[in-house]
């Protein structure tokens, strides 16, 4: 059986970045991608705005991916494409990864695995859309694949439910392709996507955004003919009597992303309730020794730049992984924080520059992100605005905190 130091599952931005950094550590690595080509979901994100943080320029998704694919190829990193991982089994000294592809069934052995499997979209059924089951109900990502990869028009007249970024971007994209987007409906009282996308994708195209509204029913036996939208109350429950029927041929959903964590789960990795991804330490190692996670498989990032960044760290950590007793100090999540990643730190690791990503649990102005160790404030940073859709990142020197296994370290927004 072929033996690797690192096997990376997923050839999107996270997989590519982690593969490159693992390779830089001089290790034997393999990347496995289920699609024909590398690049992941970036392949269909032909809008710009990628790479602002990382390359200081506005790139389209394919351009951003291409930058990494070029390096990946230059470094002659081995990749298996059109290859699907059917099973990962944890063993004494690593993992056996079973894959299928056109050549058959193969078992591969590796010391470490990086899960860079990205995320999937929540479906109409998961948000309890009721009524009939016609054609014309798409997740925004599927609609995007149809338009940008297949060159096919999924709708002539639609509404979009959910103001997540892909939904906003698809509102603009479909408009540019001649479809009528009758409105974007969002159950929450505030938009779910980035503010810049609300401006650039909706306002600039006069597409109305209806907050505190949801779709309560779909109609049509063959093709979708109409949807019913209703206003919702503060608990997001539809208010009787506010129903409105909108004629359209498609309902496009941008109602959230969920990390693809099935492989992590089958390996027994502990998941975080909030991120829906595995819990991890500052080295991006999950609760399973030797199993790493990064990018949107770990938690859904707003920007691909962050994905590449944490994936590169995960790649480096996986390449340098040596099995040893873990000394993990868990973080406490305090007030006003939706979540923080990582959820713990490895005390034996280099703590001079620990990257933390966090989201606030609500909209706040002028509050401070605060770290307390044993009740004493050791770090704070003031933010003019904090909003749940906008992820924040900090690099913190934790050596200064003099942490040990008995420390209590708490993060909050006050």
């Amino acid at each position: 059986m072929k033996e690797y130091d690192v096997i990376i599952i997923g050839g999107g931005p996270a997989g590519l970045a982690s593969a490159i950094s693992a390779k830089d550590e001089g290790k034997d690595i393999l990347l496995i991608e289920r699609e024909v080509r590398l690049g992941g979901i970036l392949k269909q994100c032909i809008h710009d705005g990628f790479g602002l943080l990382r390359f200081n320029e506005k790139l389209s998704g394919p351009e951003y991916a291409e930058k990494y694919i070029d390096i990946f190829n230059e470094k002659k990193i081995k990749a298996l494409t059109l290859t699907f991982v059917t099973e990962i089994v944890k063993e004494e000294n690593g993992f056996t990864v079973s894959v299928v592809n056109r050549d058959g069934v193969t078992n591969l052995h590796t010391k470490t695995v990086i899960l860079a499997t990205g995320c999937r979209e929540r479906t109409a059924r998961q948000i309890f859309i009721h009524g009939t089951r016609p054609s014309g109900i798409f997740t925004a990502g599927t609609a995007q694949a149809f338009v940008n990869i297949y060159g096919q028009k999924p709708t002539k007249k639609c509404i979009i439910l959910g103001s997540g970024d892909i939904g906003l971007i698809m509102a603009r994209r479909l408009t540019l392709e001649g479809a009528e987007v009758k409105g974007v409906y969002e159950a929450k009282p505030t938009p779910s996507g980035l503010t810049r996308n609300v401006h650039q994708c909706l306002n600039d195209y006069n597409i109305p955004l209806h907050l505190s509204h949801t779709v309560t029913r779909v109609f049509g036996n063959s093709r979708l003919t109409a949807v019913e939208v209703s206003r919702v109350d503060e608990n997001m429950a539809p208010i009787k009597g506010t129903e409105q029927i909108i004629e359209c041929d498609a309902l496009i959903l941008s109602v959230g992303l969920i990390p693809e964590n099935e492989l992590a789960e089958t390996l027994g990795a502990k998941l975080n309730e909030r991120t829906k991804g595995p819990v991890c330490d500052n080295l991006y190692m999950t609760s399973v020794d030797g199993l790493f996670s990064c990018g949107n498989a770990l938690h859904v990032n707003d920007l691909v730049d962050y994905v590449s960044e944490n994936a590169a760290e995960a790649g480096k950590a996986a390449a340098n992984y040596i099995k040893s007793e873990r000394k993990l100090l868990e973080f406490s999540v305090g007030e006003n924080l939706l979540y923080i990643v990582p959820q713990s730190i490895e005390l034996e690791s280099d703590l001079s520059a620990v990257t933390v990503y966090f989201r606030s649990s609500g909209d706040f102005n002028g509050k401070k992100f605060t770290i307390k160790v044993n009740g004493d404030t050791v770090f704070e940073k003031k933010y003019a605005f904090l909003r749940p859709p906008e992820m924040e990142k900090l690099v913190i020197d934790m050596n200064k905190f003099n942490l040990n296994m008995n420390s209590r370290i708490e993060f909050s927004i006050i």
Partner: protein, 575 residues
């Protein structure tokens, strides 16, 4: 009950608005009511459970317009002028199993269904339980056929290569005082009603078998013969085997009328031409009353009853290995066991169904209230169930008579028809046994008509299934991929379905080259992402296979194309 008594009872509830009369050995109710529930109530008032004297509902419903039967939008002449020994109307489990049994004989058999695929109504919209019959008593056709059908399932599924699992059924009781009654009930079931596998099991043994079941269950009624099958899978399998043995299946074919002369069906009109069958088998589900009416043989009525089921992610499959339900009031007679939780052959959990009377025979739209009610109840069967694990839900409309029993008999007036009507739960369980009886009846009737019927010497009872590579041992899988590398290209990540399997579905005996047709046969899109990732790929594979543009690929029905064509069409026009 005599008609005067019925009338008296009706009068007390409906104030003279409904009149009852005997006509041709049926109880005909007439009048006008604005509430459908009242109509159902009136008919129940007049009906006797399991009776062969049926209630015919001629009460005019003034509350709303009853939707007309949906028929295909297209028509052609592909069946015009054709002659058949047997026409089976309806491609559900009844029609498909009858077609297969008739294919043992040298007969020209046509199975027609108005839908674009088999099992698109009740047969594909139920929980797939093969019932033990523990809720049925001697004297009904349901009881007779459930015991026979249940026993036949292993061999049928083996012949047809359909996954089948005997997982057993637990009905849990939370109140200890009911114990003596349930013991008596179990004894009656076992020794009088011949449901021989009926057992009472203790709480301890129940918990040992199903660790996640409601710990407040004091004891349970257990039937080891209860089993699970994929209900549309078995229907398609039956029909495929029938086709392989010479039956013609014509989908998208709606029966719209009949010419009856001298109590004989002479011709049957469809959207694909007029056909001339010697014998008609009415397996039309919720429309079986309509078909009977066309044949001049309407002696029963169907009252549509809708049920909704939820399907949970395979992650939740660990919560229950079998079939389980809760019984809170001691053995009250009801139309179903009140829904339950079932571990499907694909590893998901299925929750439901409920039972709601409706005047809409094809109303398969789902309602949030159905899901929440069913969940609230079944959380008392398996407390760890959560709505968050729901990946999809569906509704189906059952086709009961007011007598709540099947109608398996030749026409009462019209001579060349056999009714297989009033089929509801446990119709799936009963189908293999019913099909044998209808086969015998059909042969008898055709022979009486002077037809000489020979055995179909080339009949092969074995259906080869499309390989399910995910279920295979690595070596076996490897060998198949070596033969056909498309088996190594995974298209549906959630269910691990390969391109090879999808192509197999497209070239299967009853190819339905739509997104749903492929999904029903090999499962891409059945998983947690519900086709988000694989739908474009599946559409592309279908388009390539048929050599048509992607925008001509349909989800299911005729007007259900998924796409509207090339995005650059407009700019092309400008060039």
């Amino acid at each position: 009950m005599n008609i005067k008594k019925i009338q008296k009872r009706l009068n007390s509830s409906f104030d003279g608005k409904v009149t009852a009369s005997y006509r041709d050995n049926s109880i005909v109710l007439e009048g006008e009511l604005s509430s459908w529930d009242d109509i159902v109530k009136a008919c129940y008032t007049a009906a006797k459970r399991y009776s062969k004297t049926h209630v015919v509902n001629d009460i005019k419903f003034t509350g709303a317009e009853i939707p007309k039967m949906r028929v295909p939008d297209f028509s052609d002449k592909s069946l015009e002028g054709s002659f058949w020994d047997v026409l089976i109307i309806g491609g559900g489990i009844s029609g498909a199993s009858i077609a297969r049994e008739l294919s043992k004989w040298e007969l020209d058999v046509l199975l027609a269904d108005k839908e674009p695929d088999l099992a698109l109504q009740a047969s594909g919209r139920n929980d797939g339980e093969i019932h033990p019959g523990v809720d049925l008593s001697k004297g009904s056709l349901k009881h007779r056929y459930v015991l026979l059908g249940n026993k036949m399932y292993e061999s049928v599924c083996k012949e047809l290569s359909v996954p089948f699992e005997r997982r057993g059924q637990y009905v849990g009781f939370t109140q200890r005082w009911t114990f003596p009654f349930v013991v008596l009930y179990a004894l009656k079931k076992k020794y009088i009603d011949d449901v021989t596998d009926t057992k009472i099991i203790s709480r301890k043994n129940l918990i040992a078998a199903e660790g996640k079941i409601n710990p407040n269950f004091k004891f349970a009624l257990f039937n080891s013969s209860a089993a699970c099958v994929c209900p549309y899978g078995i229907t398609i399998a039956y029909a495929e085997n029938a086709v392989s043995n010479g039956v013609k299946v014509s989908l998208g074919t709606a029966v719209t009328g009949m010419v009856v002369e001298d109590e004989n069906i002479v011709s049957v009109s469809t959207n694909r031409g007029t056909i001339y069958p010697k014998l008609v088998i009415n397996a039309a589900g919720v429309f079986s009353e309509d078909v009977a009416k066309m044949a001049g043989d309407r002696f029963f009525s169907i009252h549509p009853r809708k049920g909704t089921d939820s399907i949970l992610d395979k992650k939740a499959g660990v919560l229950l290995n079998s079939i389980a339900a809760i019984k809170e009031t001691a053995l009250k007679r009801s139309h179903t066991k009140g829904g339950g939780v079932l571990h499907t052959v694909h590893g998901n959990l299925l929750i439901g169904p409920d039972a709601l009377e409706t005047y809409k025979k094809e109303d398969t739209a789902t309602e949030p209230s159905s899901i929440s009610k069913v969940f609230a109840k079944q959380k008392r069967t398996v407390p760890a169930l959560t709505e968050r694990d729901i990946i999809t839900y569906f509704a189906g409309v059952r086709a009961p008579t007011f007598e709540e029993d099947f109608i398996i008999e030749a026409g009462r007036k019209t001579k060349n028809i056999i009714h297989c009507a009033g089929i509801q739960s446990p119709g799936l369980t009963c189908a293999p046994a019913i099909a044998l009886d209808i086969e015998a009846k059909a042969l008898e009737m055709l022979k009486k008509d002077g037809l000489v019927i020979n055995e179909n010497k080339s009949f092969n009872p074995i259906r080869k299934a499309i390989p399910a590579l995910k279920e295979m041992a690595p070596k076996e899988r490897e060998e198949l991929i070596k033969k056909n590398p498309d088996y190594g290209v995974i298209v549906c990540r959630c269910e691990e379905i390969s391109k090879g399997e999808i192509l197999d579905a497209l070239s299967s005996p009853i190819s339905v080259p739509t997104v749903d047709g492929v999904k029903k046969r090999v499962r891409p899109g059945m998983g947690r992402c519900q086709g988000g990732f694989c739908m474009p790929l599946v559409i592309q594979i279908i388009a390539d296979y048929l050599n048509i543009p992607m925008d001509e690929v349909k989800k299911s029905y005729d007007n259900s194309s998924v796409l509207f064509g090339d995005i650059k069409e407009k700019s092309k026009e400008l060039l």
